[in-house]
Amino acid sequence: MTEHDLFPVDDDAAEHGRTRIQAVIADVRAPLALRERIEADRARSRPPQRRRRLVLGGSLAALVVVAVVVALVGSGAGAPGPPTVAQAARLAGLPASAPAPAVDPAHPALLQRSVEGVSYPSWRGEFRWRASGAREDRLHGRRAVTVFYAGPRGARIGYTIVAGDALAEPAGGRRTHQGTERYTVLRRGGSAFVTWRRDGHTCVLAGPASVPAARLLALASWSGEGSTS
């Protein structure tokens, strides 16, 4: 007689335990203070040589940062214009500043985060890409929210939705269709990003070179049985 025969487990109890655990931990987030302490440790752990170079080149580095910020968000007074898809794609390379949104229990294919009614997908079940953080930025005065996803091998991608009217479609790139949706795949250096529209809003999915364009396209075009269309 095996241990399982001596102490059989109630399958119903096991399922009850599983659902109870999932329901509770979905709301559990690391406290902001803990995140800040970890971030402070990470900043302190940078090599001393790199810190000295930053100090010596501080004024030059500051000028470069200002130039990048001005280029990214526009001067405001000169020619503000709308943001571009390329500017939205760059947000995927920035660090998260907020916890990952939870999966919507009523719609498991969606996260509990949206921009003007356009929700972010949950790829946890289908692709094993999990939401890992989020950030909110302003591009030329327009709200842009990026949700980050961590892949099964540690890569991180960013899904950005820009509030307001859809951005102009970028020139060049490769266009492909999935049903009625049109996706544009572009390359920047060695990495790729995909842009498309949902409910009149521009969406951009960007990642590092280790995530091929085909993977980004598969993620972007996943419909979740209609829940993200």
């Binding site: 399982h4 025969d5 102490f7 059989p8 487990v9 109630d10 399958d11 109890a13 096991a14 399922e15 009850h16 335990g17 599983r18 109870r20 655990i21 999932q22 509770v24 931990i25 709301d27 559990v28 987030r29 690391a30 406290p31 902001l32 203070a33 803990l34 995140r35 302490r37 970890i38 971030e39 440790d41 990470r42 752990s45 660090p95 998260a96 916890p99 990952a100 946890r124 094993r128 999990r130 890992s132 953080g133 980050f148 961590a150 099964p152 091998r153 540690g154 991180r156």
Partner: protein, 175 residues
Amino acid sequence: MTDGRQLDPASLGDHVDRLYRAAWGLCGAREDAEDLVQETYAKVLAKPRFVRNDDDLGYLLRVLRNTFYSRHRAALRRPRTVPIPEDAEPADTRSSMTPERALETRELFAVIAGLAPDFRDALVAVDVAGLSYGEAARLLGAKEATITSRLHRARAQVARGMETGRPGVLEIKSP
């Protein structure tokens, strides 16, 4: 020559939530979990790390678990102190949870932490940290079938523990 890839410190923060949940499941107390997570990150960030077979989360969980067990062994060698009663744990004023939800969460993690170590580790790896069965098996050095069995029993024990208020209570069914 170093094999594998180097961990990117900039992306390690993406896993804080899952590490925190896993730590709470191991420790049973929220503040201990925070300390464990911070100590884990401090160890990982102390020098460049190279990963061969794990993804980032798997590596971090491995360090978290090793740190937990090291602290546990060290604590056993120290003089025992009187633990703070559960109902005296300071309220988490930072949380947006309702008091009822916060209480349920504390109770759940106390039950999980009270499981037998093998059952607890399997449950924390899969249900709390979100690893697949295969990833959990690699992390814990066990066969996938063993993880499946331990997980199944652990879940049942959690369900019983939440009902009875006693962690690790296992119902014995009549043949």
